[in-house]
Amino acid sequence: MKPAEFYQRNREIHPPALTPNYKTSVARSPRFSLISLQNSMSEITGPTFGHSDIDAIDNDLIKNYAKAGDPIGERIIVHGRVLDENARPVPNTLVEIWQANAGGRYRHKKDTYLAPIDPNFGGCGRTLTDENGYYFFRTIKPGAYPWRNWVNNWRPAHIHFSVFGTGFVQRLITQLYFEGDPLLKHCPIVHAIPDADAIDRLVARLDLNATIPLDTIAYKFDIVLRGRRSTLFENRLEGN
């Protein structure tokens, strides 16, 4: 079987490695150019996951760590589709999220922010997209939180997303932001992205049609992974 490779990654819409306003990037950014590599079998393949890997409740952050009641905060749905650059759905792919609680505090032994831990909120979830690339999470809207960069930096409310796709080169981690957040325009991590349209596509939109009246507000967030060419490359042993 002749496999097809992925489109070259458009690095102009991604943050470069070195973004001095996000100070931690200075010592953690490679200085040499990346070596451009055409896809081989090592790149076009990637791990696959199934329903035996996860549980149905894993995508419900309101219930998946609840001990003695529901977590505090604004109840939200975050949903959307995982697509590729050809606008085709990416089915059965693993989507994992993590976030702070409503007060902006993470359940992590390294987070020492003074906002309290919520005893009923873990802050992570995972799901597989369905055959149409659709995913769904129920959670609590995360709070903004301060971080050490400049003395008065606050992260806009955000949810971290990790997505796989079908090939290891589609692997992506990003962050979802919320429409109308006044902190968005001040965040050095957001503005590490040089392209205004690319930033805008990280902003989830209020979705009144998916909102559950008297219960839960909804936001819609579509994710686009790299697409594949329709032309094939040769990977059979020479001479065969």
Binding site: I13, L37, T45, L225, N235
Partner: protein, 207 residues
Amino acid sequence: MAFQDPQYLRETASQTAGPYVHIGLAPGAAGFDIYRQELGFDITGPNAKGEKIRVEGIVIDGMDSPIKDVLLEVWQANSEGHYAHPEGGGPVEEGFRGWGRVITDFETGEWGFDTVKPGPVMGRNGRMMAPHLNFWIVARGINIGLNTRMYFEDEAEANAKDPVINMIEWERRRATLIGKRSVRDGVTVYRFEIRLQGEDETVFFDV
């Protein structure tokens, strides 16, 4: 920005995984238990054939300090050079996924995992690639995941013919992709130090 035809969508932009990536991808390391099973801690499953090996290393930043909050993912073929994927070149053992998630010791930055040594993998144009592990590296301060490969020190002949290693113009940089072999308590250990900057900066790929 007419990089792509407008009928195509554009990829979602990357953002750093941040310091709390463990909550999402390895909550046990963040300090709590939530899922029935965390993913990526068993790379080979129980039936994998081939040589059992351990791979250890550290990721070092531009100040020569270990990165203690880094998370790595590894993607590898089985001992026959097949990936667990419909286009992976052939069958794999029942339970073999070939994918692992690797977190560091928060005090030292050291990481390690157990797996089997992969076989040579068919490359483009029918040229075999030497056995290798594919790595993807994310952390606070890394804006977009870094891709690299580890090759094996004891595969010198295959490495010398590897089409990817040979594409690297600077011979001394090729050495940054070689895991150093030793034997400890009867187990073969490969050490792979990843340097983000400096004279010995690891080769990272735009894949």
